[in-house]
Symmetry: C2
Subunit: 244 residues, 2 copies
């Protein structure tokens, strides 16, 4: 009886962007648990599995179900888009399991949008960076604002997750205004939509232009650091090798 619970980062969505370990973990599981949209991404690659899905905001419900099923002896994989640990379900599963030792949890990393999106734009994260979500569902806006301000002040490249949704149309604009306290309007920025999926698109622009860009929930946003350049149509943050 294998009652291990795998928490698997599937990466941006394409089978080829999964790690071999992630594929093996999903193959070992009888039951796949996940957010509906992401479950549909992997279902074609693993059609023989049992699926349990919930809509957005059903995170606690589906994590409880996965823990129960794994504890009862069913090999189970909770799948997350991107990495299992970056805004993923690994933390919530450990919180819900508490001090219990069963089921055993194994976190299997995947490519988070900061890394997979950076590869599409060029190399915007070759130096220090911060990853910040603009969603204020679970975080006070004041906290988000302080993080944006300090990250920009420190000259970190910044990756924004969840830059907008139907109810948060102006959040990216507000974030850009905070960053503009410390960064020049010409700062090189980039956006990627639908990373690694059908309809993938990329665009490089200035911070001033980003301020009026209409992002959606499938967009990942990159703000360069003071050294970031556009070279041959790519967004590049130099590491600083002195003899380039």
């Amino acid at each position: 009886m294998n009652n291990k619970l795998y928490v698997v980062g599937i990466g941006p969505g394409a089978y080829e962007d999964m790690t071999i370990r992630a594929v093996q973990a999903v193959e070992k599981a009888e039951l796949i648990v996940g957010y509906g949209v992401y479950a549909e991404l992997v279902r074609p690659y693993f059609p023989e599995k049992e699926y349990f899905t919930t809509p957005m905001r059903g995170e606690t419900q589906r994590c409880r179900y996965a823990l129960e099923q794994a504890a009862a002896g069913k090999s189970t994989a909770v799948i997350c888009s991107g990495d299992a640990g970056v805004y993923g379900m690994a933390g919530l599963l450990y919180e819900l399991r508490g001090e219990n030792e069963t089921p055993e949890i194994e976190v299997v990393s995947g490519l988070t949008a900061a890394c997979s999106g950076a590869a599409v734009l060029g190399a915007p994260l070759t130096h220090d960076f911060a990853v910040i979500s603009l969603s204020d569902l679970l975080t006070e806006w004041d906290t988000i604002e302080k993080r944006l301000d300090r990250a920009a002040e420190a000259g970190l490249s910044i990756v924004l997750y969840n830059p907008a949704s139907k109810k948060r149309r102006d959040y990216l604009q507000r974030a850009c205004e905070i960053i503009l306290r410390h960064a020049e309007p010409e700062r090189v920025c980039g956006v990627v939509r639908n990373i690694g999926r059908a309809g993938e698109s990329r665009q490089i622009m200035t911070l001033a232009e980003l301020r009026s860009y209409e992002a959606d929930m499938f967009t990942t946003v990159f703000i360069g650091n003071p050294q970031t350049k556009c070279i041959g149509g790519k967004m590049i943050t130099p590491r600083g090798y002195r003899d380039v």
Copy 2:
């Protein structure tokens, strides 16, 4: 004639931690170019290839060679540990190629130590975080210090790359002292050594204990945010689901 240059993140080192796309890219290449230590990690999986390696600080030399070989028609892969874009060679290759259109460069992402190390410790990066290298070979220490200070002030989780080397024995201690300006000595921290390789080890400790921890160049360091907890022996940063 395929003269594409692949820049491939191989992840922490095990074959299973490579993405399928990374394996395919290395398989397509005739020539593998990389830092000696990492080339030796992948050579057992791809023994039939031609290898060109240079020691540390030979980055520019090996990137120039890879560009020349690819431009001359040899299918080439530059391999990087972790992700190709996070302190990897993707940026330098684009810089060296400049405004030329050949060779075509394709960046293939891999698991960076922030993600693969987090999975070993539990789930320390479930909320916003910063990735900062303590190496001052290419970055002024003042810049590093400012980034540590602002990231800690903003309550970001912090991942430290290159926390120490033979010449920089006290850098982790200095970093902890900066972070202690804003964080309590009991802040939950974790270290992982040799992620995904033989001899992998992990340890969870307080920030005060981390201050006197002896890191080496194979160590990745995680400093929690104000909400980070130790649950069942794992380092967990809650996202904030309200009904846990």
